[in-house]
């Protein structure tokens, strides 16, 4: 055999070799699986609707290049055995990824290597047609090592390797190789075998949302129904979407006011919306950091929701003074004018200064309890992450689809960071894996979720794609995070 061959061919040979071993007799399994063997036609739908946390991680293979790997995380609170799952082709198919999702339903961290897709330092992607066999092995090793570094992976356990194809599923553990038919009937036996060999006996997290989605996908194969996301109606537990922002502000009974906070050494004052929760109790301060079009109705309505949920919401107009004649965001006639007028005028350092001033001002409010957090969206998400580095006294930072600061800044973070992202958001989503690794290495608290099939501004455009499901999960997490950190 030639030393160089196409990867597809190589892996097919492996799979055929696995399948040629006599199938294990499907003895009656002693367990009730939490999963099933996905069908080829249902794979994409399963991937779109499963609520298990799944993501593409970026795995460095040299100082200049990385490859990808698909990871699905189990819904358990302790660390899990890693399974490396490979299909017949080196480029992971939907079906292979769906099989990995189902194995994760049993409590495993599953990883599907995509060693043919290379990413260079500039983020450019290239998919190779073929690779040297030894190079494939080297990249597989890198993926295996990266998988063991995942925060929920049990690095003390050797990864178990699975080769899956329509003709059979082979499992390779330290004890040897075992093959199973690729059928729904043989699936429980496979799961039981895996559990016995790896000692896997997880307590799976009860997840009503996942159960709901499971029921939905049974009811109508094909079309996933959103949990929320009816335009024209606001779910009181969630922030207003694009269509509901105006009515939410107009109809709110909460106390809200615009204040102009002096900025040290500046003639400009920071025009800031403050929204107070009902009642008179002391509570935490949340600095709301604007998305890339400024303090528009949607952004202001978001501040109202923070107050509805019990916190003092402080939304500075970051672009104060950049409007016509030194005016603020609202001095521009249209949103696109405001964006143009502000472009390049507020540096990242100035943004930090302004938010720091707003936080310090708000902490002196009679109702402030001394605790503070930040939340931001898109550009504001990046600012919120950086704010955690800038202000070590901050009690928490929530990042909606915003970038992470450089490692040197990350190292200064003291507060826990909660990151919420959409999978259909290019590098924003891809970078999460790297951020997770860096934060973990620095010993920082970082909980991140990347919602499948979800777009960038999912908190604003809740009704498209699967964004409704994403915000229905993300917002309660956000509020729970604030309750914990700002108590």
């Amino acid at each position: 055999m030639s030393r160089t061959m196409t990867v597809v061919k190589a892996l097919t040979l492996v799979a055929v070799a696995g399948a040629s071993i006599a199938g294990r007799a499907p003895a009656r399994p002693a367990i009730t699986p939490h999963s099933t063997l996905p069908s080829v036609t249902g794979a994409k739908h399963l991937l779109n609707t499963t609520t298990r946390h799944r993501e593409w991680i970026v795995v460095p293979i040299s100082p200049d290049a990385s490859v990808l790997a698909w990871v699905v995380h189990p819904e358990r609170s302790d660390r899990a055995q890693v399974l490396v799952v490979r299909g017949e082709t080196a480029l992971p198919s939907d079906w292979t990824r769906a099989v990995s999702d189902q194995l994760s339903a049993e409590g495993y961290v599953t990883v599907v290597p995509d060693v043919l897709t290379e990413i260079d330092r500039q983020g450019n992607r290239q998919t190779r047609d073929a690779l040297d066999v030894s190079e494939i092995g080297r990249r597989d090793d890198a993926v295996r090592r990266a998988a063991l570094q995942l925060p929920d992976a049990d690095a003390t356990l050797r990864p178990v390797e699975l080769n899956v194809s329509a003709t059979g599923i082979s499992v390779e553990t330290r004890e040897g190789r075992e093959s199973f038919a690729a059928s729904a009937a043989a699936w429980p036996t496979l799961v039981q075998y895996l559990n016995e060999r790896t000692g896997n006996a997880p307590t799976l997290t009860d997840n009503p949302h996942a159960m709901h989605m499971a029921m939905v996908s049974q009811a109508s194969a094909g079309a996933a129904r959103p949990v929320a996301g009816d335009i024209g109606r606001k779910d009181p537990r969630l922030p207003a979407d694009y269509f509901m922002a105006r009515a939410t502000i107009r109809d709110s009974t909460l106390k809200a006011e615009w204040v102009d906070i002096p900025l040290e050494g500046d003639t400009v004052t920071l025009h800031t919306l403050v929204v107070y929760p009902a009642g008179a109790a002391r509570t935490g301060v949340v600095v709301v950091m604007q998305h890339g079009v400024g303090v528009d109705e949607w952004q202001r309505a978001l501040a109202y929701q923070i107050a509805e949920d019990g916190f003092i919401a402080v939304l500075p107009d970051l672009w104060s003074g950049t409007g016509p004649n030194g005016g603020n965001w609202d001095a521009s006639e249209f949103v696109d004018d405001a964006v143009r007028n502000a472009a390049g005028k507020v540096s990242p350092e100035e943004a930090m200064k302004r938010y720091t001033t707003a936080r310090e001002w708000a902490l002196k409010l009679p109702r402030a309890n001394g605790k503070s957090a930040s939340i931001g969206f898109c550009m504001g998400g990046g600012n919120s992450f950086r704010f955690a580095a800038e202000v070590p006294q901050l009690n928490g930072a929530v990042v909606y689809y915003g970038g992470a600061p450089p490692e040197a800044q990350m190292a200064r973070i003291q507060a826990p960071v909660l990151g919420l992202y959409g999978e259909n958001d290019g590098r924003m989503a891809d970078n999460v894996a790297e951020t997770r690794v860096t934060m973990a290495r620095l010993g920082k608290q970082y909980e991140a979720r990347v919602y499948a099939k979800t777009t960038h501004s999912f908190a604003m455009f809740q009704h498209i794609g699967t964004n409704a499901d994403a915000i229905a999960d993300a917002w309660p997490r956000t509020i729970e995070f604030f309750r914990r950190q700002l108590r």
């Binding site: 593409w56 983020g123 094909g222 079309a223 996933a224 129904r225 335009i231 024209g232 109606r233 606001k234 694009y242 269509f243 509901m244 922002a245 105006r246 009515a247 107009r250 890339g292 079009v293 528009d296 109705e297 949607w298 952004q299 609202d330 521009s332 006639e333 249209f334 949103v335 696109d336 405001a338 964006v339 143009r340 969206f377 898109c378 550009m379 998400g381 990046g382 600012n383 992450f385 689809y401 915003g402 970038g403 992470a404 600061p405 259909n424 290019g426 590098r427 924003m428 989503a429 891809d430 970078n431 777009t455 960038h456 501004s457 455009f461 009704h463 498209i464 794609g465 699967t466 964004n467």
Partner: protein
């Protein structure tokens, strides 16, 4: 923001600036176009730049009240530059009604050489007999459209607008329709039921029932987003029915695009979807309306 009309002024987010300055790329990356900056000539405005686009158009435009039986339909009309004869296109609103974005679609059609008419299906259905403008916020518009608009009356309004358009001095006698979401559904139905129409474009709207579909005699062009299962899931059956009946139905489903991809161009793969769909829309109308 003095000019803020009932249309959502806010809109969208997601400019590709984040701390660290990464540009979007790769799988499911946000597409170009439709950001919060100036509208690109020959392309649709997004929800972001639609208000400024409509407010600052240099094209001739007017509101007219077109008779429909014993009532009228309040209609926004824009004319292309020059005085050459032109095809007429009726623009059919999405869930949030005749907002700045829908009027920006009319503006874009006029800029591309068509006489565009955008009727207000909420004519007379607002508070105190008012129109779309009488409603205070998008949610009120959405509820009014859901609860007060009778499809048959909307079809009569659209037909009246098309007929009125055809009598304009500059009209060349050719008529098309384009609609978005529920407006796309109306556009599909228009192709079957309006005797005056020559071509219909459907953006993420579902088709009428099979009996109605079989009445279609003009070409229909449909655009759908992959991540819009409730609508896109209906396309295969529609295409099969039309194919069996020997009708012309060209349709495209864009990977990674969502519902409302023309309005929300910065999300998912909506930007490239909008650019391709709009280029095809203009070519389709140029073919059938000139």
């Amino acid at each position: 923001m003095k000019r803020c009309t009932v249309a959502v002024l806010s809109v969208a987010l997601a400019i590709p600036i984040v701390v660290g300055g990464q540009a979007p790329a790769g799988r499911g990356g946000r597409g170009a176009g439709g950001g919060p900056f100036a509208k690109v000539p020959g392309q649709l405005a997004s929800g972001w730049n639609a208000p400024s686009t409509v407010a600052r158009t240099t094209l001739r435009h007017e509101w007219v009240d077109i008779p429909v039986g014993s009532s009228t339909v309040h209609t926004w009309i824009e004319y292309p530059n020059g005085d050459a004869p032109a095809g007429v296109v009726v623009v059919m609103s999405y869930e949030a009604g005749l907002d700045d974005w829908i009027r920006s679609v009319a503006d874009e059609l006029a800029a591309s050489g068509f006489i565009a008419l955008a009727p207000d299906v909420l004519t007379g259905l607002g508070p105190n007999g008012g129109n779309y403008d009488a409603l205070r916020s998008p949610d009120e518009v959405i509820r009014a459209i859901r609860t007060r608009v009778v499809p048959e009356q909307a079809m009569r309004q659209y037909l009246a607008a098309a007929t009125y358009g055809a009598t304009l001095p500059r009209a060349n006698g050719r008529i098309g329709s384009v609609g978005f979401g529920p407006g796309g559904t109306f556009s599909f139905r228009f192709a079957a039921e309006a005797p005056v129409v020559h071509a219909a474009v459907v953006f993420y709207g579902v088709a009428p029932d099979d009996a109605t579909l079989r009445k279609i005699t003009v070409p229909v062009l449909g655009f759908y987003g992959e991540d819009d299962p409730a609508v896109t899931g209906t396309v295969a059956a529609t295409a099969a029915t039309l194919q069996r009946a020997g009708k012309s139905f060209e349709h495209r489903t864009y990977p990674g695009a969502t519902h409302h991809f023309g309005l929300i161009q910065v999300e998912g793969r909506n930007g490239p979807a909008t650019q391709d769909a709009w280029t095809r829309t203009l070519a389709f109308f140029k073919e059938h309306l000139q």
